[in-house]
Structure formats: structure tokens, C-alpha cells
Symmetry: D4
Subunit: 208 residues, 8 copies
């Protein structure tokens, strides 16, 4: 077993791409329960804000049935580049999108979107081809069912994409609780009910 470099998320090197989390398209997502999926997407967005990661928003054909970007994301990133693609299905086929990504100056991309095998996999594979280090946030990406998810994962993984989750990404970015205990704890408390409960019980006792 030869050694292999551990390419890990570095908060100075990461841009976040949120692809097609649109009100209509979300009704297609059936591989993750809607309560959980909503929470995961908002957790990822909170994480991006918390680490001040440059974030690029994009939508596909949002004036049609795909619907508008979910309002929470728009509100959280008022100044982020927002590319409403008029037709390109693969966001990477859209020049403005690629420009916006490259303008971040980052070489690591953290991608999530709807649906996984299209809106996530296509730009992920394109970005790999261009030499980016690509990490997909699997649990903030949704699709029709487990078969479509696992097939998409396999295709991306074979191409070199690293499969992550929002919690794993947050931990890899933060590195050390001492960098900011309260900030990370708040992020977790807001999006992991079990963690919030631990903190509630802890606070009661610690402050007694």
C-alpha cells in the first residue's frame, strides 16, 4: 500500500458552488427526506458564510417550471455572483459561471445541487478536467432515488471527485475548535438537533 497525499479542504482555497436549488426542482428530490434535505442545504449555506467562503449561485431556467432559487439562499448571499443560466444544463458550459468560479481564485470547489447526477455531476466532472480539486457535498445534493444517487456517486468518484457531507466539510475546514469554539458550536447547534440537545443539557449543568 503506497502512500497517497491527503488532499484536504483548506478554508483559504475553497469556493462553494450552489447549483439549482430551485423551488420547483426540489420537488424532484426523493432520496432524502424533505425536512432533512432543507436542513442540509441551509447548513451548507451557513457553513459557507461562517467560513467566509466565496460562493457562486446559479439556476437553470428559473422563469419556467423549475422555479426560483429558494429565497433563503438568495437572502444569505446577497452579494454573491448569481448566474441565472438561460439554458445550459451543465453550469460549466456557461461562460459567466466559469468566470465567476475562476474569479474566486480558489482551486478547491465544494459543490452541491439538485439533481445530483446532472446539476452536480456535470460541473464536477468538468472542473476535474480543468484541474480543480473537487469535493461534492452529497447530503446537500438530492435526486430521484437511491439508484440515481449511487450511480452518480460512482461516476464522480471514479473521476476523482471526493464525496463529502456538510458536517465533514465543516470539520475539515475548521481544523481546530480553538479557532472559534462558539462559532462552530452555533453552526452545529442550529443544524444538528442531537448536538443542540447535548449543548442544552450541558449548559444547564455547567451553569448551575
Amino acid at each position: 500500500m503506497s502512500s497517497k497525499p491527503y488532499i484536504r479542504l483548506d478554508k483559504n482555497d475553497v469556493a462553494v458552488l450552489l447549483v439549482d436549488h430551485q423551488a420547483g426542482l426540489l420537488s424532484l428530490v426523493r432520496d432524502i427526506d424533505p425536512d432533512k434535505f432543507k436542513n442540509n442545504v441551509l447548513a451548507l449555506a451557513d457553513m459557507a458564510k461562517y467560513f467566509k467562503l466565496p460562493t457562486v449561485l446559479t439556476t437553470s431556467f428559473e422563469t419556467g417550471p423549475n422555479g426560483p432559487l429558494v429565497p433563503e439562499l438568495k437572502e444569505m448571499f446577497p452579494d454573491a455572483p448569481y448566474i441565472a443560466r438561460p439554458g445550459n444544463i451543465n453550469a460549466w458550459d456557461n461562460e459567466d459561471f466559469v468566470k465567476a468560479v475562476k474569479a474566486t481564485g480558489k482551486k478547491q470547489l465544494l459543490i452541491a445541487g439538485v439533481v445530483t447526477e446532472v446539476c452536480v455531476a456535470f460541473p464536477a466532472l468538468s472542473a476535474i478536467e480543468e484541474g480543480f480539486e473537487v469535493f461534492v457535498v452529497t447530503d446537500a445534493s438530492g435526486t430521484f432515488n437511491e439508484i440515481t444517487r449511487l450511480a452518480a456517486w460512482d461516476r464522480m468518484s471514479q473521476a476523482g471527485v471526493q464525496l463529502m457531507t456538510w458536517f465533514g466539510a465543516a470539520c475539515e475546514l475548521h481544523r481546530d475548535w480553538r479557532n472559534d469554539i462558539e462559532g462552530l458550536a452555533t453552526l452545529f447547534s442550529n443544524h444538528i438537533p442531537d448536538y443542540r440537545n447535548l449543548m442544552t443539557s450541558y449548559d444547564k449543568l455547567a451553569n448551575k
Copy 2:
């Protein structure tokens, strides 16, 4: 098939009992995903407030490992009777609790709690015995696993408890959208992501 009266929730006749939603006990709940369960409990609480239903809070041994009531519930019902039971496992064995319930003057009880087969089933069965009409909010009640849930449901159902969910209860209480379209829509939008998405898409188009 003989006719059978339809005993339905009447917002003028209902009291809500929230039993033992405590930070520690919640870690025991594994029959519903924590993101979803948290949402269901808060949805029930929002519903109780929205319909101005008298609500009784109670906890079991909250100074020990069971932990404090989850803070959101305390904050939402600052003036509700709050019975911190020193030891009675069945809330109905606690005189103060029964007094608080009876003081609401309601004959229909909507009960939810943790864990289903104990904190919910015991007072539900006691209340049936005393002639109350009892409705259990199954999806805001949690327990160890599916076996414990289904066994508890069967015991309660055989005794005459009606098994409901928070959404069903809200609809039965509201009766008619025209009573307050916006209020009910807000309740649903806040707790049903799929409904929220429908509204987002609708609003965009309706207001174009």
C-alpha cells in the same frame, strides 16, 4: 356496517399536552429522524399557539440526566402551566398535572411526548378512562424503534385513542381555509418544505 359518530377535533374543545420533550430524553428517539422529529414537535407547538389552544407542559425529573425541556417550547409557552414532575412517570399520576389539564375545561386532549409507549401512552390511557376524547399526535411523539412505536399504537388504539399527526390535526381544527388563509399557509410554509416550495413558485408567478 353501522354508522359511527365522527368525533372530530374542535378548536374550542381542545387542550394540548406536551409531555417530556426534554433534551436528554430526545436522544432516545430513534424511530423518526432527528431533523424531522424536531420539525414535527415545533410544528405542533406552532399549531397550538396559532389556534390558541390551552397547552400544558410537563417534564420528568428534569434535574437529572433526562435533561431540561427543550428551550424552544419553554419560550413559546411562557405562561402555560408547567409541571416539573418530581417522580411520577405517568403524568396523570401527578395531581398538579391533572388539575392543570382539567382547569383548561376542555374535553378533547391532543397529546404528544417522548417516549411514545410511556410518556404518551400512559396519560392517554388514563385520560380515556376518565372520559376524555384523546387524540395522540403520533409524529410529534418519538420512541426507540418501530417495534416500540407500533406496539404502543396498538395498545392506545384498542383503548379508543385516535391516532393523528400534526398536519391532520391542524386541518381538522381549521376546518375552512377562509377562516384565515395566510395564518394557516404560514404554519405550513414554516414546517413543510414541499408546501413552502409550492408557495414560492406560486408567488413568483402570481405576482409577476
Copy 3:
């Protein structure tokens, strides 16, 4: 074990009630896969037409996010009573709906709708109270998840509702293949892929 009368569907005594199969509400249905659910609803509709059962259509607040009735149902029953309820959540609370049901002159009601614990259970329980024999088509009725479905089933079953499926109902209505072999076979072929395959193989061999 005492004998109990078998109250069975009689095609001369049955009316079909299709409640709130609306384009928006359908995105809430997550206890049955969408391909299967669509098939089940259309199968029930085809069955109603095939047996010439009087059918009543109704929708809830269809000008809002709940969306319009799915077009296929409108097209299949152009002359059926169609009650677009302006606000009543329980269709039975709407006088026009009840009138339309009673105008059919039938005493057996076959009900399906979205969502099960509300749009189906409420009118089912109301109709039981008025002495109708009520049969719910469980697999043409959808809801949020298994917990909401099973709780709704229990409530309806305890009240005397008979839980059916579209295939069971079709068989109970038809009674004897000899009444019309081709008609029933076509209904099954169009909605049960496994049956269709049996027929395909059979026809090839039988006609060789």
C-alpha cells in the same frame, strides 16, 4: 367467532369520490413512489369509467399553490360533478359536494385522495357517520410518509372504513371474468406491467 356479514362492493351501489388530486398537492405525496402513484390514480379512474360508476371530483383551493386538478382526471370525467371547494378542508363540509354525492343515489362510497389523513379520512369519517358504506382506495391515496399513512388507516379502520386497493376493488366489482373478459383484461394490462407481460407472452403463443 360469530359470523359477520360480508359487505362487498356492488357496482350498482357505488359512487367514486376523487378528492384533491391536484398538481401542487401531489408533490406532498412521499409514501408511494410517484410513477406508481400516478399509475394507481389513473387505474382507479379507468376502473370507475369502465364500470360506469358515478364519479364526483373535488378540489381544494385550486387557484392557489395547491394547483389545478391533474388534467387527466378532468379529461376522463368531463361530465362529472366537479366541486372546486373555496375553502372547506373536509369535502363533506361543503354542501355542494354532499349534494353531488347524495345525488348519485348510491350507498357505497369508494374514496381516494391526497393527502390520506385529511382529504380522504375526513370525508370518509363523515360519510360513515351518515350511514354510508365507505371503502378507501389506499393505493390511490397518498400522504407524507408511512407514519402518517398508518395513523390515518388506523383511525379510519376503527371507525368502520374498509381499506381496499384499486385492484381489489376492480375484482370485487367485476365478480366474474365472463361478464367481460376483454374489458377487464385491458384495464389490468394498462396498469399492471406484470399482467401485461403475461398477456403478451400468452398472445404470442396462443396465436402462433
Copy 4:
């Protein structure tokens, strides 16, 4: 809790009805894995033979796509009444079938068939109405999916049918191992791999 008589299978009072286990119809069964289902049906048949229970075979429209009775059953019961129904879906609507059942002179009926909500439930409900004690062998009865199975179970159970499985029925019929240890052990060894393995290990050690 008042006492309730325990109506149990008595091998002197039982007839077995095998309804529509036909080669074509079996492809509709998807609520039980085919290896397991085949085993369960053959186990029930072996059990009927072992206890010398009068058995009635029937099929529905076997010259069409429903296909012939599975050959194993025909071979195991060469002398059993065999009613190839020309069209009646409910076997109990067929006079010859009812005559054959009544000719057994038994008052307890053990029924299994394909599919559960039709070929099993319809004659089960008819037989209840006529005062028979009806036991359904749930695991030798198959249907489309879990929803159709559970709805059928509920309908039958509410009418007074007792839900059994082949193993439970065998044990209730046998009453005491001492009546014939080897016979019952052989039945179990042939149809319960875990039991067979226990016996294999036991025999090796006991005979060493």
C-alpha cells in the same frame, strides 16, 4: 379485560383451501421474495398432507394468461377436489367450490392464495359470513406490495379472520411433539433452513 375464547385450529376440524397459486399469477407477487414464497406455499402443502387435512384446489381462468396451477401442488394432491373456475373471481361465488368445501364437513378453514386482497380475502369474508372459523395463512399468500397486503389484512382482521402463518398453523395443529417427533421435525427440516441446520449439528453430536 374480559375473557375471550381461544378458537384454535383442531386437526379434526380443518380444511385447507389453496386458491389460485397459478404460474402466471405468481409473477404478480412482489411482497415476499420468490424463493421464500415458493418455500412457504410448499410448506403449507406439505403440512396439509402431513396432517391429512382435506384440501381443495381451485384456479381462476387457467387457460388464459393466469396460467396453470403450479405443478407441484397438482402432484401433491392428485385426489383433491380441483375446481377450475371458469370466471368467478371470488371462489366462494362458485357453487362447485363451496360444495367441495362443505363436503369436507369441517368448520375451520385454512386459506392461502394469490393475490391476498382478492383470491384470499374474498372467500375468507364469504366464509366468515356463513359461520366458518377462518384462518388465513399470510405467508403462503402473496400480493403486489406491502400496502396491498396490509390493507387486505386489516379488512380481514376486522371481519374476524385470524391471521396465521404456516409454521404457526403447523404448531397449533400438532399440539404435542410426542404425537410424532420425526414427522414434524421432517416438515420443519424441509422448509426452515435454520431448523435443518440445528438438526444437522445436533445429529452429528448426538450420534458421535
Copy 5:
């Protein structure tokens, strides 16, 4: 909805029947994971000891492949009546067993065993017939699969058996934490890892 008496477990009125938890038969149990099932059975046994409930042990044909009673149970109840049934499948068909049960002088029976639809259901139904109040500990009773479990539950429930779990039973017996906090906490800590973890965290903080 008429009132219905709540028949609850009373530690002065309960006997525990442990039926056929034998080393061989346990390999048949596949509806509950073996780690969990072993824990549930031992938890029930600990509970019986903790509440000093008279306990009756019985086995079926233990010199054959069914195997010996699991040693832990023998060791925990060295003085309990132990009826090694030579052949009766329904323990209630064995006179010594019934005598032992009646000798406890209790009218409430808490029954668990392997397998659910036979070793538990048969004596449960017999005891109901004789006027006992019967409670089945569903999660300390195991069987082949979910179908066999649910069918057995339905049969028992329709006859008046109350479906419980070991935790629910322990809570109903104890009534009030103040009767013995440490004793009950120890029982839970030994058999509910989540509870144990709560206590570990609590103790660390409370004693700091």
C-alpha cells in the same frame, strides 16, 4: 368515545413467563437483530428480578435440537419454577406449567418467548380465555420475520392481549422514580446505551 378502564401493570399482581428462550430456537429469530434481542431478553429478566416478580421458566424439548435454555436465564432465576416440557408446544397445555403460573397467585401475566406466533401467542390466548390479564413483551419475543410478527400481533391484539415492550413495562411497574431512583437508573443504564451515555455525561458534570 366511551371511557374504557385502563388496565395497567401492577407490580403486586404480575407474574413473568419466559417461554422457550433456548439456544437452538434463538437461531430462528430474524425479526430483531441478535445483539438487540439478547439485550431485550436480559433486560426483561433484570426487570423481573428488580421488581421481584414471580417468574416461570419453561422450555420445549430441550434435549433435542431446540437446545438448552440460555444459561444467563437459568442463573438469574435459580429458584424459579422451571418446566421442561416434554412435548407440549403450547406451554398452557402442560399442567405443571399452568400450576406454576397459578401458584404465583397473580392475575396479570407478562409473557415473552421464542417464537412469537407460537410459544408466546398460544399461551397468551389460553390465558386470556381463563380470564388473566395478558401483556406480551413484544421486543423480548422473536420470530422469523416481520410478516410472522405482525400476523401474531394482530391475532393476540384482537383477543385482548396488550402489546408492551420491556421498557414500557418497567415504567408502568415502577410508577414513580422516587420509589427507587438508583435501582431503576441502573436497570436502564445496563440495557439502554443512550440512557447510559446521558448518565455518564451527567455524572461527570454534576460531580465536577
Copy 6:
């Protein structure tokens, strides 16, 4: 992480191979629900037609129990090469088939069939060996159960096959909605009920 070329479907370079979707063989497919599977296969066929992809049909031993090709596919591709293999299990072992494939002049193959680990995997692995770029449409390929599916996926993926789904393939082929909005929308509307509902609601509002 080195860059890796993104080999994507190009509608000018793709041939579609539909292998053994025969009426008999389809009864073997139990890893995908039959309603869904039928829809997926027809969606893939519609897609092939929509993009005018050269399509090759083949069957295995269709005069025997495997049964005829499902009639819909024959009707949709009346002029496609149709190789009824007299015996070769791996279609690639049949010279006519390989000739037909090569005659398309395409270097990318999109393969689906029944059953996945045989009729799909064998020609996929053969085609890889000959230098084709191979994409398997996983959700239009069916097999016995999840174990057989996942084992087949692993074998194909390790050999370089890209695992796709019909929706992902359609999106990758189309590239840009502006190429033909209505055409793609119709394809999706006909095979994705959730998408159809979005369009229904959208059209109602957009055209008001």
C-alpha cells in the same frame, strides 16, 4: 488529484443498445418496482427517438419462455436493426449484433437491458475491451435484487463503464434547453410525474 478528461455523451457519437427487454424475462426483475421500471425503459426509448440516436434491438431466445420483446419497443423502432439471437447469451458474441452496432459508426454506447449482470454487463465489458466508450443506463436495466445489481455495477465500474440513468443521459445529450425547450419538456413531462405536475401548475398560472 490529477485532472481527468470528462468523457461525456455526445448526441452525434451515441448508439443505444436495448438488450432483452422481453415479456418473460421482465418477470425476473425485482430490484425496481414494475411501474417504475416500465416507465424508465419507455423513457429511455423515447429519449433515443427524440435525439434520433441509432438504436439496436436484440432478444435472447424469444420463441421460448423468455418471451417476445415488449411490443412498445418494437413499435417505437420499426426500422431499427433487430437481432433475435438464437442462443448467444452475451449479445456481443453474436456477429450480427456487433455488425449492427459497428454499422452505426458511433463510438459511444448507451446500454440497457434485462438482467443487468448478464444481458447488460456482458456486452458492456466486451465493448469496453474493443475500445468503445460505454455508458450503462442503470435504471432502465433490471435484475433479481439489490445484491445482484450492486455486484454487477461494481464489476462494470471497475472495468471503466460509466453508470448513468436515463434522465442524466438525456440531460447530458441535450446540453442546452434552448436547443429545444418544448421537446425536452415533453419528454420529461411524459416520464417524470413530479415534473409534469410542476408544468401543470406553471402553465395554469403563466397563462392566466
Copy 7:
């Protein structure tokens, strides 16, 4: 995507290794239902006999609780090398076993056993290291649960093992139905109930 040779099973190059299918160890297998697993193992054995593949049997510590080899396998391969390993857990650590394998003169090994991550994975990895082409029959290999199975698959796959199933292996070995239609059909009929049913229906019609 570079071409990659398709290493396929060749009936002239294959030896079958059946590792530790012992009566005791089989009770550990819980990732596949016992009826199905038994069928899969016997199907693999029948296949080995049908293709006259040299077969090696081995057991681990069979005089202890692991129990004897299941008798069916012994009877089917009376002349096969049978290595009762006195202690080596990895069969490949046993010289006699390796000698027996090498004595077959085959370079392709088809391995199945209990439990997957040990009795199968260890010799599979050893054989890969020695240059054999290794194919594991996943569905005739069993283990504790899905986690243990998937971890074992991943380890073997990464090392170059090809994951197969008994049906896939049979098809790859047979190559062409015309080599012997009846023989292969009998194998499938005996072990695939759905295939058997197809043949039953076919024969009835074809011979009418």
C-alpha cells in the same frame, strides 16, 4: 477511456471453492434470508456439477460448534477434495487446500463461503496475490449484515476480485443456449421460481 480486457469465466479454466458452508456457521448469516441463501448455495453447487467444474470443499474446525458441512454439499461432491482444516482460518494458509486448488490446474477461481469477509475474502485476496483470476459468488456467500458485506466487497474489489452472482456466472460459463438448452433450463427452473413459472406457462401453451 482506455480499453480494458474483459476477463471472463471460461468453463475450461475454472475451479470452484466452497468454503465453510457449515451447519453452525450458517446461523451467523443474516444479510440474506435463509430460504434464499440456501437456494443460492445449492444453485451454485448444481451449476458446478452441471459444468463439471472441479470443486474443492473445505471446512473450519468442523468438530466444534461451527458444525459439519451441510450434508447436501457433501452428497453432491462425493469425490471432491475435502479439506477439513484443523485450525487455519484463511483456507489458503492450509497447504492441503492450496495443493488441492492448484491440482485442478485452473487459473480462474470461483469462490463462495461463510462468512464473506473472512472465509471468502481471505482466500480470495491470497489467490489474487498468487496471480489467479478470482471471482466471488456474492449471493452464495453470507455474513452478519449489510455493513460487513459491503466492507468485504470493497476490500476485495479494490484488490481486483470480480464480484459475481451464481446466475451471472452460469450465464458467462454457458455462453450459448444452443450448447444445451435443456440442461441450463433445468438448472434455472430448479433455482429461480420466476423462471420456473415462465416455463410452466410456456410448456402448457406450447404443447397444447
Copy 8:
């Protein structure tokens, strides 16, 4: 298929790293049932002790809500290096931890922890980078759900980590039952109920 060396666990070369099995963090683990997970962790610990493998314990921020190390582990390894990390999330970022690992002088690391994608995956990837042979004990490592587990497995597997389970590791370490039959049997009997039952039945018969 080229040969590939089989890198297997060698008890002289292995160190065990137990990462963050803390009372609070354990409430986050929901991909494995708590009874089973507790058993797996203790089994791994027993195994480490049994093989006298140098073991390193570490915790993350144990004075906060993450809670203390579960007491059983502390008690089992009183003399093991214990690194209570003040903040590093990746244990490998902590110098003391790495020193302790390197001080063992082993080149194979067997890692388990909570949660899998963070506390296990991060140090596993770091150790791979430094040239260690890394084996993850998947079933003694827990996380939020199946998606997070499978994503973590894929990331680790692609980097060269070998995915194991405690039972597989124990067998690979032991090599030959004859090294110590009783020791290994005791380990298995204490943590595998099915194995324990085999031994119980065996002992009864063997000693008769």
C-alpha cells in the same frame, strides 16, 4: 488481472486507535443501532486486549458537550496513552497523538471512532499519507446516517484504506484457531450472540 499483494493484518505490526468514543458524541450515531454499536466497540476493545495490541485513546474537547470517553474503554486500557485533544478535530493534527502512535513502532493502524467521516476518516487519510497501512473498523465506527457513512467509505477506500469489521480483523489477526481456541472462542461468545448459542448447544451435547 495482475496480481496484487495481500496486505494483511499482522498482530506484531498493528496498533489500535480509538478515536472519540465519547458519551455525548455517541448520541450522534444513527447509522447503527445503539445496542449493536455498543457491542461492536466493546468487541473491538476486547480484541485489542486479547491480542495485546498497543492501543491509543483520544478524545475531542471532552470537557464540553462531547462528553467524557465511555468509562468502559478507560477501564479496559488504564495504561494506554490517552490524548485528550484540546481542540484538534483531526487527531493526526495533534502532535502528542502522532507521537503516541509512532511510539508503538507499528506500521499497521486499525482505526475506529465517532463520527466516521471526521474522527475516523481524517486521521486515516493523514496516516495513509505518511505511509502507514490503514485499516478502518467500519462497524465500530458510527455516524449520522447511511449517506454520511457511504460517502466516508468511498473517500477512504479511494485513498487506499482497507475497510474491515471487528470480526474480520480478529480472524485475520488470529490466523489459526490452534493458537488459542478458548481465547478466541470466548471473545466471539461474548460479542456474537449467535456464536454463543452455538457454543451453548454444543457444550451441552459434547459434555453429555
